[in-house]
């Protein structure tokens, strides 16, 4: 960066980024770019769901209060796992490896609990006769949008749990740096962020009064 400053000439004064204009590491920047791309995938899925729902004459509202309660508990698990993940990132930055690994494991537990509750919900709906192409309430695309959206999200959570497992082992053995932990944290918070849209759009807008 000092290089840019010493050779600054008139007309170049607005560029003060030096070799690292964003002041973040390449792994972190790469993860941010992936998150932007993945946001668009999820946005496209949510928009497709909204499109189908708006076009349909009558959209089913099958989620009774027990389903909504289940989804609230899932949300709580995901939000709390985000909190433990920030704690892990803070511990990693302070070079407290043991504490960071413990917090990453807690985060993974939150993700696993989320997956188990979500699968229970899925099995209940499948038992009621919901498939990607048909369901007992009419509008055939309900199942396609529900399983598509929540399935894509569940896949992200599952991959996240595996990713965090690799990071926990690697960071515990001093093979990975604090930046690796922070990068995996970005991914985990993104998964949490997406759920903040799926929960109201899919569950709350289809609740049974």
């Amino acid at each position: 960066m000092a290089h840019g400053e010493t050779h600054a000439v008139a007309g170049e004064a607005s560029w003060d980024g030096g070799a690292s204009p964003y002041a973040v590491g390449d792994k972190k920047l790469g993860m941010w770019l992936f998150i932007c791309a993945d946001s668009l995938t999820f946005a496209a899925c949510l928009i497709a769901y909204s499109y189908v729902r708006l076009a349909a004459a009558e959209w089913p509202r099958p989620f009774a209060s027990d389903s909504i309660l289940n989804a609230i508990i899932m949300t709580a698990f995901l939000l709390s796992s985000s909190l433990t993940m920030v704690m892990a990132v803070a511990a990693a930055a302070a070079d407290d490896r043991k504490r960071a690994v413990r917090y990453i494991l807690l985060t993974m537990l939150g993700g696993i609990a989320f997956d188990i509750l979500h699968l229970r919900e899925w099995l209940g709906l499948i038992h009621e006769g919901v498939t990607p192409s048909s369901n007992p309430w009419g509008v055939p695309l309900f199942g396609a949008t529900f399983f598509g959206l929540t399935g894509l999200h569940m896949t992200h959570v599952t991959i996240g749990v595996l990713y965090l497992g690799v990071i926990a082992i690697g960071f515990g053995r001093s093979k990975f740096s604090a930046e690796d932990v922070e990068t995996s944290g970005l991914y985990w918070h993104f998964v949490d962020l997406v759920w903040m849209f799926i929960f109201p759009m899919v569950y709350l807008l289809s609740n049974k009064f």
Partner: protein, 102 residues
């Protein structure tokens, strides 16, 4: 407060506060979901609350508030514009809805 410095590490207390707000906003969403409101109004309220929650997550949990502004400006405005462009499909779905015999 030290959080204005570009690389200062925010405190645990701040993260717990953000988490508490996220839980609170989720519960507000649930309360709204059980009010008998028009669907359009409900969508606006729920999406508004969700945008607030995602802003909190990005700013504090994903550290964007503590990053250099150039990173935020590179990532976020383009993303928002691209997502808004997808809204172009909605007039078509409304048209299909109006054409459907009931």
């Amino acid at each position: 407060m030290s959080i204005n410095a570009s690389h200062a590490k925010p405190a645990t207390k701040l993260f717990v506060w953000v988490w508490a707000w996220l839980v609170l906003l989720t519960l507000v969403e649930v309360v709204f979901a059980y009010q008998h409101l028009a669907l359009e109004l409900m969508v606006v309220i729920l999406l508004g609350l969700s945008l607030m929650k995602s802003a909190l997550i990005m700013a504090y949990f994903m550290h964007l508030r503590f990053e250099r502004l150039s990173l935020v400006l590179t990532l976020i405005p383009g993303l928002v514009i691209l997502i808004c462009l997808m809204f172009i499909s909605f007039p078509d779905s409304v048209r299909i809805h109006q054409l459907t015999p009931r």
